[in-house]
Each structure stands twice: as structure tokens, then as C-alpha cells.
């Protein structure tokens, strides 16, 4: 069985799961874990989108 993810959905899935692990392992309390996980998720996905737009600008 194979899966064909788009570039964005691959980045989304990666950001989601990596953020969950980062949140759990890098913070002490549940509240801090959730906050740090959300921060990592936004940074992962935001970074990917920003890099994508930067490459689009360079290409023009």
C-alpha cells in the first residue's frame, strides 16, 4: 500500500507529529507542553511556507 501526499500535506503531517514529540519531551508541565508544541508547529509550517514563497520570489 502506498500513499501519495502533496508537498504541503507532507509538511503538515511532519510538522504535526514532530511538534507533538517536541512538546512532550522539551517541557515539564502539560500546559507548557501544549504551548511549546503549538509554537513548534507554527514555526515548522510557517518556516516551510516562508521558504516556499522566498523560492518563488527568487525564481521570478
Amino acid at each position: 500500500m502506498t500513499v501519495q501526499l502533496t508537498h504541503f500535506s507532507a509538511a503538515f503531517v511532519f510538522a504535526l507529529f514532530a511538534s507533538i514529540v517536541f512538546g512532550i519531551t522539551h517541557r515539564e508541565t502539560s500546559r507548557d507542553m501544549i504551548r511549546y508544541g503549538l509554537y513548534c508547529f507554527v514555526m515548522f509550517l510557517g518556516g516551510a511556507l516562508a521558504a516556499g514563497w522566498a523560492m518563488w520570489l527568487v525564481r521570478r
Binding site: M1, T2, V3, V13, F17, V21
Partner: protein, 139 residues
């Protein structure tokens, strides 16, 4: 004097249990992602780690990612092997079933390869976290 002896005998089994757990939790956590947390009764954290790391690895396989072996001569292959090795039992099972042997022929397969490497690296972090819980450095 008698009090200190009593206190000593009370502490020793607890310390022994902690040191045993400090070995067992990382080992079982490496074999099965999140299990190091689960055996220390961190149910939600353990399940989230199992789902997250497991899903990344399985998705990587389903995206026809490549899995690295120990005998890769290239330095990047060796680094890929170290990353993959972190997935523990999933890596061993995949090798046993001859999974992940295809060439990286398209972009999504390359993403899948990276998914599996990152799953292994994340599991290394989860193992370290399980160890810190076992020695009492983290709640």
C-alpha cells in the same frame, strides 16, 4: 543511629527500583516508541509518542521511502542508518520484512526516507525523556 539504619533500609529498595527503571525504560522505549513512558504510567504522553513516531515511520514506508542499512559506505548513508536505527523495533521489523528497499525515484519517496530518519531521531529524544523521568529529573 537506629533511625538512620531504618531510613537506609527504606530508601535502598526505592533507589534500586529507580536504577532498574533507568535501564529498562530507555531500552523498551527504544524498541517500542513511547513504551518507556507507558511503563512509568505516563499514559497520555506514551500514547502520543507511540502514535506520532509510529505514524511518521509508517507513513515514510508507505511513501516508498528508503531504509538504510549498516553497511552503507557513504557517510550520508551511515548518518541515515543512525537515524533509522532510532526507530528500534519498527526498523528491525522493516528490515526483516525487506521493506524500504526501493530506490528513491521521486520527491515523495525522498520525503518518506526523511520521515523515517526523523522518526528514529525523535525516538532517541523520547528515550532520553523516559530516562530523565526514570531518574527523577523530570515529572
Amino acid at each position: 543511629m537506629a533511625n538512620s539504619t531504618t531510613a537506609k533500609t527504606k530508601i535502598e529498595p526505592a533507589q534500586q527500583s529507580a536504577s532498574t527503571m533507568a535501564v529498562i525504560a530507555p531500552a523498551i522505549g527504544w524498541l517500542i516508541p513511547g513504551a518507556g513512558h507507558l511503563i512509568q504510567r505516563r499514559w497520555i504522553r506514551g500514547m502520543l509518542l507511540l502514535i506520532s513516531i509510529g505514524a511518521l515511520f509508517v507513513l515514510g514506508l508507505m511513501m516508498q521511502g528508503h531504509i538504510y542499512k549498516a553497511n552503507g559506505g557513504d557517510i550520508l548513508d551511515i548518518l541515515g542508518f543512525i537515524g533509522d536505527l532510532g526507530a528500534g523495533g519498527m526498523y528491525i521489523a522493516t528490515l526483516a520484512m525487506n521493506g524500504g528497499q526501493g530506490a528513491i525515484a521521486f520527491a515523495i519517496a525522498d520525503y518518506g526516507t526523511k520521515f523515517m530518519i526523523v522518526a528514529g531521531l525523535l525516538n532517541f529524544i523520547a528515550v532520553a525523556d523516559a530516562y530523565h523521568i526514570a531518574i527523577g529529573k523530570k515529572q
